[in-house]
């Protein structure tokens, strides 16, 4: 007998009080949703002690139907002049338990979040949910929607914009928005949390409140606001094109690469200490250049990489390589025939009009492709990037953006090498060099 067919027939659904007869005894409790990955012959009940447990019943009877819960009316949030706009994209910072998979799932509206964090009362805010996505599911289409929404908020007179975002790809989005919206008259602050919001220890509260605080500062840039250390004491504000997630799980996973963070901040003490140069709020007009082309590949160069892998990239409009060291790939530069060079397919991509951009898997540091023969061969092949100190993600999103602006190879090349939003620095300062 299929237990769930049987339940359906008896009109028993999740939340109902049921009595189970099992080999281990008789039990009463509330029927809980079953994780989809679990054994289909096991059903999960919440016992009166509050514990959930999985049991294989020989029979299930209904004791009492669950009371119907009223859906709470959803109010529309109106943009208010001078308020900080909080835009929800999903992610752990605004997540809830999803019983179907037993996993944490983004689903809380920004309004619910305001209820959860009474300290938000310090600021005039309004909020809206753009989408509820795991950050790994976001793509350039979502960047466009987000850029539109931020532009609209700015036009409506928002004092600053906070974007709640999953942490996994947050720095791709922050970099993309940095290129798409230039000359920002208000700060655009991305925020997330590494611990899901269903834990009392989640750092979401501190990160969120600090991000709203940051959004009220004199800053005309895209930034990311996350924990500075494992302590719940203050946050760092990182430049949107300079920041990278450097740990899978720690609160202080986000680091500024080859630079210092913009600021250290703590809303509780009104602390906003600038640590590096920043752009103040732009008094002029916002320059929105929202064209974006997501048909770009990012390839991690590795030993044994096959030339065919590169040739097959010809369906893309652009390719970013995360090369080794100073910006290298296997090129057979020393004439050793045992090497499988990928130089030829790279040349072919470039000559067919597909720009190839270099970045380094060292993450920190500058590309110096003139030092070794390999690098010089790549430059000769038309690979873009020598001298840049961008992160692979900043280079990747930049190429997406540049390809959204122009199709001319020459222009692509010069736009790539022009610093737009701090992704390329002109000197490698000692501070923050690792």
């Amino acid at each position: 007998m299929d237990i769930f067919e049987d339940l359906k027939k008896k009109g028993i659904s999740v939340g109902d009080r049921v009595r189970l007869v099992c080999a281990s005894g008789e039990f009463e409790g509330l029927l809980m949703p079953r994780p989809v990955t679990a054994d289909p012959s096991v059903i999960v009940v919440k016992l009166d002690s509050g514990y959930n447990t999985g049991l294989k019943p020989s029979s299930v009877t209904l004791v009492e139907k669950a009371a119907q819960r009223k859906a709470s009316p959803t109010e529309k949030e109106k943009p208010a002049k001078g308020a900080v706009a909080i835009l929800g994209c999903g992610g752990t910072i605004a997540s809830k338990i999803e019983y179907k998979t037993g996993a944490v799932y983004p689903s809380i509206t920004p309004k619910e979040l305001r209820m959860a964090f009474p300290d938000l009362e310090r600021w005039k805010i309004h909020s809206r949910q753009l989408f509820s996505l795991f950050s790994e599911d976001m793509n350039s289409g979502h960047w466009r929607i987000l850029a539109d929404a931020i532009e609209e908020e700015i036009k409506q007179g928002s004092k600053g914009v906070v974007v709640m975002h999953g942490t996994d790809t947050m720095t791709y989005t922050s970099a993309a928005i940095s290129y798409m919206l230039q000359g920002l008259p208000v700060p655009v602050v991305f925020v997330g949390s590494q611990r899901s919001s269903d834990r009392p220890s989640s750092e979401n509260e501190m990160n969120l409140l600090n991000s709203v605080f940051a959004a009220t500062q004199d800053l005309g840039e895209v930034a990311v606001c996350m924990h500075a250390s494992s302590n719940d004491d203050f946050c760092h504000l990182h430049r949107g094109t300079r920041v990278r997630k450097m740990h899978t799980s720690r609160r202080d996973a986000f680091h500024s690469i080859s630079s210092l963070p913009i600021a250290a901040l703590d809303y509780r003490t009104d602390r906003f200490d600038l640590l590096s140069e920043h752009k103040p709020r732009n008094k002029g007009r916002l320059s929105a250049k929202k064209g974006i082309n997501g048909n770009v590949a990012l390839i991690y160069v590795h030993p044994n990489i096959k030339p065919e892998l590169i040739s097959r990239l010809d369906s893309y409009d652009g390719v970013v390589l995360a090369g080794t060291g100073l910006g290298h790939v296997p090129t057979e530069a020393l004439g050793d025939k045992s090497v499988k060079s990928i130089l030829k397919p790279i040349k072919e991509l470039v000559s067919s009009g597909i720009p190839v951009v270099m970045s380094s898997q060292c993450i920190s540091g500058r590309l110096c492709m003139r030092v070794y023969r390999t690098g010089r061969m790549l430059i000769d092949a038309g690979v873009i990037g020598d001298g840049a100190d961008w992160t692979p993600e900043a280079a990747y999103t930049k190429l997406c953006w540049v390809l959204g602006q122009t199709k001319h190879m020459k222009e692509i090349s010069s736009m790539m090498m022009e610093n737009i939003a701090g992704e390329i620095s002109d000197r490698s300062a000692l501070e923050g060099s690792l």
Binding site: A23, A38, S49, G50, Y51, T53, S72, S229, S230
Partner: protein
């Protein structure tokens, strides 16, 4: 009266949700990292915030966690938990089988919200492993509704207003939790149940040993009283007394409440009067010192409470102490009340009269005082008044004191707020898992086996002993059972009393008996050899340095000769080096 017990036993495995060892850091070990954290309320599945936890969080407390070299990111709440420890799960299933409990089909890990900071995550992970068990005792069958696996909490280092410091070496050690139904008949029965459960746990050979590794929480409720949980009973011998004292407390409270009602003592209106000015020139040292430091003195009337605050409801603890325990929640040292001899605080009769007038206390009324900074004192008074207005025996968690009395810790938590732990998927209890669970001998089987090795008295002691597992190991290695038992139960115990400490008792005794089997020393020398070994020396070296090697053969003969073949003389001089049986044989031979 209804009595139940909850036992928490630490396991000697790795931690429940990470691969860190369960060993505690040494006293002299310094934390390698200290982090500062805060906790905040979370939305439930229904999008609501629990009011009780909201109130606790309102305290705006910060927590400091000390991490040691044997901690990892999981205990620091910087990495998701690993799957539930299967070793621990198997031990729990092994215990469940002994208690006739049935394993669940799938183990679901839950988060029990704890807001005092004792868990870095803000919750304790807990999971039911088996259900519907029972334990047979001399006074009937005791129901065991559930056996669970839980994480141990972090150990508290210090606590002050708004801040608590915890150490993480303890956090995450697996605990088996066994809770009984309230089927226990009386204090002596309670002790029997606790002892039996302890034996069953130790019989697995996989439980941690040492102070604090097993904890008993006793639940007592009387007719007309309430369910009260008493934590921290250190000794099983204490359990009957604990129950007796709690029963008395509840009965006395019921009588006292009747009296308060009769005198129209309810409700007590919260009206704290600032009487600081009254004590401007006081000789009461405690009060004048407080005022000098900027404290206020607040007084509160307790209508109809005269002589009731001084009424003893536990040996040495009065109704006033109960009120005082509540006041302490505000961080004050306690209250002073009018049923005390106020003169002992230096409060003069004239001041007492002025106090009575200030709060408007008539003949039958009582009053209390709190000396503390004003806001805090106000809070303390309102907590004490809250307690005074309970016209029933409150459901409480109390802490046991060594004399069998108890003091208030916190209100009994309502049905625990449990959320699913989404980071740890359910673990199926498969046939393969169950068949890999070690079988334990039943207590009867074990008793039968011990009876064959030891005399009756020692067999009974060994069965109850925390050293049972070690005893069996030593015997298996070839130690003489009676000698191993007396060494463990008597020699080691009295040496410890003398202050001798053993770093690794198992290693020491294994070496001791191996050396003994070689015939290199005699029984009488064992305490001395152990003393030497406790300092870290090898047995062989101890024998040499302290001249404890056994004297035998020609050397013994010579000694016998020197002492005129006088047994008494020989033993007096060489007790620690000669085997009396061997001497006797020699003397017999000599005729």
């Amino acid at each position: 009266m209804k009595i139940g017990i909850e036992i928490h036993q630490r396991l000697a495995t790795k931690k429940l949700f990470c691969n860190c060892p369960s060993a505690l850091a040494g006293d002299d070990e310094k934390p390698i990292v200290t982090v500062q954290r805060r906790l905040h309320p979370v939305l439930s599945e229904l999008g609501e915030i629990d009011e009780a936890s909201q109130a606790e969080f309102a305290k705006d407390r910060s927590f400091q966690y000390q991490a040691f070299s044997n901690n990892c990111l999981v205990e620091l709440d910087e990495e998701p938990p690993k799957l539930i420890n299967h070793e621990a799960l198997k031990i729990a299933l092994q215990v469940a089988a002994q208690l006739n409990a049935k394993p669940v089909d799938e183990v679901h890990v839950m988060r029990k919200m704890v807001i005092d900071g004792s868990n870095t995550s803000g919750f304790q992970r807990t999971a039911i492993v088996a259900v519907n068990g029972h334990l047979d005792t001399q006074k009937g069958t005791i129901g065991i509704p559930a056996i669970a696996l839980e994480e141990e909490s972090a150990g508290i280092v210090s606590q002050s207003e708004g801040k608590a410091v915890y150490r993480l070496d303890r956090l995450g050690i697996p605990l088996i939790e066994i809770a009984t139904d309230p089927d226990i008949k009386d204090g002596a029965h309670l002790r029997e149940v606790a002892e039996k459960l302890g034996m069953i746990l130790r019989a697995t050979g996989r439980v941690a040993r040492g102070l604090g590794t097993i904890r008993q929480d006793v639940n007592v409720s009387t007719d007309g009283g309430a369910r009260v949980e008493i934590k921290g009973a250190q000794d099983l011998k204490m359990l009957p007394l604990l129950v007796k004292v709690e029963e008395q407390r509840q009965l006395e409270l019921v009588k006292l409440l009747y009296e308060v009602r009769k005198r129209n003592g309810f409700p007590v209106k919260n009206h704290a009067v600032d009487v600081t000015d009254l004590f401007k020139l006081t000789k009461a040292a405690l009060i004048s010192a407080g005022i000098k430091k900027g404290s206020s003195v607040l007084a509160q009337k307790l209508p109809g409470h005269k002589d009731l605050l001084g009424k003893e409801i536990q040996p040495g603890r009065r109704y006033g102490t109960e009120l005082s325990d509540y006041a302490k929640k505000a961080g004050v040292k306690g209250i002073i009340h009018s049923d005390e001899k106020l003169i002992k605080y230096g409060i003069s009769p004239a001041e007492e009269e002025q106090l009575r007038a200030a709060v408007g206390a008539k003949l039958n009324d009582a009053f209390m005082l709190v000396v503390a900074p004003k806001v805090q004192a106000k809070k303390a008074i309102s907590f004490a008044v809250e307690r005074a207005n309970m016209d029933y025996v409150p459901e409480e968690t109390r802490r046991a004191k060594p004399d069998g009395t108890s003091s208030f810790m916190r209100p009994l938590p309502g049905r625990a707020r449990l959320y699913p732990e989404t980071d740890a998927p359910p673990s199926p209890v498969t046939k393969e898992l169950l068949s890999s669970v070690a079988k334990t001998e039943s207590l009867d089987e074990k008793k039968g086996r011990l009876d064959k090795m030891l005399n009756k008295e020692m067999s009974g002691r060994m069965l109850r002993s925390r050293n049972l597992h070690l005893f069996e190991k030593l015997v298996k290695q070839g130690a003489d059972p009676m000698l191993a038992a007396t060494t463990l139960e008597d020699t080691v115990v009295s040496l410890r009393r003398e202050g001798v400490e053993f770093r690794d008792l198992e290693k020491t005794l294994t070496e001791l008996f191996a050396e003994y089997r070689k015939g290199s020393f005699v029984k009488a020398a064992i305490p001395e050899v152990l003393k030497g070994m406790a300092k870290g020396a090898r047995a062989e070296a101890v024998l040499k340095v302290y001249r404890l090697q056994k004297i035998t053969g020609p050397q013994l003969k010579r000694i016998a000769e020197e002492n005129g073949y006088d047994m008494k003389k020989i033993m007096q001089k060489h007790r620690l080096q000669v085997d009396p049986a061997e001497v006797a044989k020699l003397l017999k031979k000599k005729g």
